[in-house]
């Protein structure tokens, strides 16, 4: 299996595009998902500021958005993508649906991580006169940081998978190459190589995430 120089360049560019889509989408996903996740934690019935109405509304929106299959979402948001990016194809355009798909998922991940924080520690902070903001920034997030980082790792892996799916509709990146060469042109070797690269990327991202979260965990004696 010998590849032309152009093919190698294309695969390298595909890898770069995939990483670009994944990392930027994860970042923007957290810009939206983190505050929503915090809001879910805080307004839940045993949160620091229970508010059944707010919780229920966000809860429903998050659930609805999470139930839309990604491929459908890709097509549904094309008008919005055009508005923001100016075109509906290519890796930058794929970031829009990726962020929309990832944000509710991230919100849930953040919510479950923050809910792991010991209620007693929050109570201790309240007894010291801490404000809600202080509890969020100095207790909830730092105490849950290991779990939050594991969440980031899982989210990154999931978005990487979604970005490959976006290749089917001209989304760019490795998924795009796999579809065009491996599927439409029957070049199985190209498809295999893209899969190997994708697997390697997931492994590396997962490994880095786990190392960082473990390094930052002080709960182990």
């Amino acid at each position: 299996m010998v590849f032309e120089k152009e093919m190698i360049t294309m695969l390298l560019e595909g890898t770069r595009d995939t990483l670009y889509m994944t990392l930027v989408s994860t970042l923007f996903g957290y810009v939206i998902g983190l505050p929503v996740g915090i809001l879910l934690t805080v307004t839940d019935k045993d949160g620091i500021r229970p508010n059944a109405f707010v919780y229920r509304i966000i809860d429903i929106i998050v659930n609805i958005m999470r139930s839309i299959p990604f491929l459908i979402l890709l097509i549904l948001v094309i008008p919005l993508t055009k508005l923001i990016v100016g075109k509906s194809y290519g890796s930058s355009a794929t970031i829009v649906p990726l962020v929309i798909a990832a944000a509710p998922f991230i919100a849930r991940m953040v919510e479950s991580s923050l809910k792991e924080v010991d209620k007693g520690v929050i109570e201790a902070a309240t007894s010291m006169g801490a404000s809600d903001f202080t509890i969020i920034t100095k207790v909830l997030i730092p105490e849950a940081r290991t779990s939050l980082l594991v969440g980031v790792t899982i989210v990154t892996g999931t978005i990487l998978g979604y970005s490959a799916m976006a290749g089917t509709v001209g989304g760019g990146g490795l998924g795009d190459i796999a579809i065009r060469y491996g599927y439409y042109r029957y070049q199985t070797d190209v498809m295999l190589v893209t899969i190997v690269i994708l697997v390697a990327l997931v492994q590396i991202l997962q490994g880095i995430g786990m190392i960082i979260s473990r390094k930052l965990d002080r709960r182990i004696a």
Partner: protein
């Protein structure tokens, strides 16, 4: 001067799946400045709810909590936050920040009070010395024993110079020896820094060691309150008796038998009463339990005797013991 804490007709109930639970029923008591006050009760008596009402972690349904004569319930959230900085609380499970080391844990309340970082560090170092943990400044809570964690929690609670310290079962997760050393530390702090301490516990031994006055809580209400020594020697209510007696032995074992508890204090005669009872009535009594306790600095002896089955002899024995100025109670 008003008492530092005054609880007036405090009521609090919860709705649970099993129905309404009255966790606090019309509770009133007051605590003087510098005092170590105990609140004792079996589990489910409403102790935790009551202590959480003292800094409004729980809001009472009715009644009032006055600190230095000011009602906490009338305060705005901002005023309450400020007020809470002067009411420290330590917990059964310590509740330290697991991702921060010891010194940063102690700095935490000072971050809330916006104390400059350098000053906070300095104060934290001093406090570590007070609680005898200087060598563990950079350790993380996961690396400490239970007693060490509680010492860090005490250092942390002292950071903002509280006037009041609430202890919610603070020694219940510790072994007896560690419990004693933590109680000694609390006593030392109370005395040297003039801090009022309120101790919530289910263990009579804790109250005996450091409290002067105690309130006995039973199913959400104050069953009796007063001097520890008095309640220990002559508990008037069922709840108090149960606590005083169950602290040391399984009560169930003695159920249904003719038992009396006699108390000796400094004023009792030097007569060998138990021996004399046996001689005088010509029938033996069985010593089930005997102990001497240090209550508020004076030695108090306690003994449980099993009397003969015959009710007339038993009654005469009780009278005999009472004539000798002993406190005698049927168990």
């Amino acid at each position: 001067m008003p008492p530092i804490i005054e609880v007036k007709n405090l009521c609090k109930s919860f709705e649970t799946k099993e129905g309404r639970v009255d966790a606090a029923k019309n509770i009133s008591f007051s605590v003087e400045k510098g005092e170590i006050f105990g609140i004792i009760g079996l589990s489910g008596a409403g102790k935790s709810t009551l202590v959480r009402c003292l800094n409004l972690l729980e809001r009472p349904d009715s009644g009032d909590v006055l600190v230095n004569g000011q009602s906490l319930l009338a305060m705005s959230p901002k005023e309450l936050s400020m007020r809470r900085q002067g009411i420290g609380m330590i917990f059964q499970h310590f509740n330290l920040l697991m991702q921060r080391n010891v010194i940063d844990n102690i700095c935490f309340p000072m971050e809330i009070a916006k104390v400059p970082r350098a000053k906070a560090k300095q104060r934290a170092t001093e406090l570590l010395e007070t609680v005898g943990m200087t060598d563990k400044a950079l350790a993380y809570p996961a690396q400490l024993s239970g007693g060490q964690k509680q010492r860090v929690a005490i250092a942390r609670v002292l950071a903002n110079n509280p006037e009041i310290l609430l202890c919610d079962e603070a020694t219940s997760a510790l072994d007896p020896q560690t419990t004693r050393s933590i109680l000694e530390l609390l006593q030392h702090i109370s005395k040297t820094m003039n801090i009022t301490v309120i101790i919530i516990t289910h263990e009579m031994s804790v109250v005996q060691q450091i409290c002067k006055r105690v309130a006995v809580l039973d199913s959400g209400a104050v069953a009796e309150q007063g001097d520890v020594k008095e309640i220990f020697t002559s508990p008037k209510t069922e709840a108090a008796k149960r606590l005083v007696i169950s602290g040391v032995r399984p009560v169930d074992l003695m159920h249904g038998k003719k038992m009396v508890r006699i108390i000796f204090d400094g004023q009792s005669s030097y007569e060998p009463v138990v021996g004399n009872v046996t001689l005088a009535f010509g029938t033996p009594v069985n010593i089930m339990y005997a102990d001497t306790k240090d209550i508020g600095g004076s030695a108090v002896g306690e003994m449980i005797l099993q009397l003969p089955e015959d009710p007339i002899t038993a009654q005469r024995m009780i009278d005999y013991l009472k004539e000798r100025k002993l406190v005698v109670e049927e168990v």
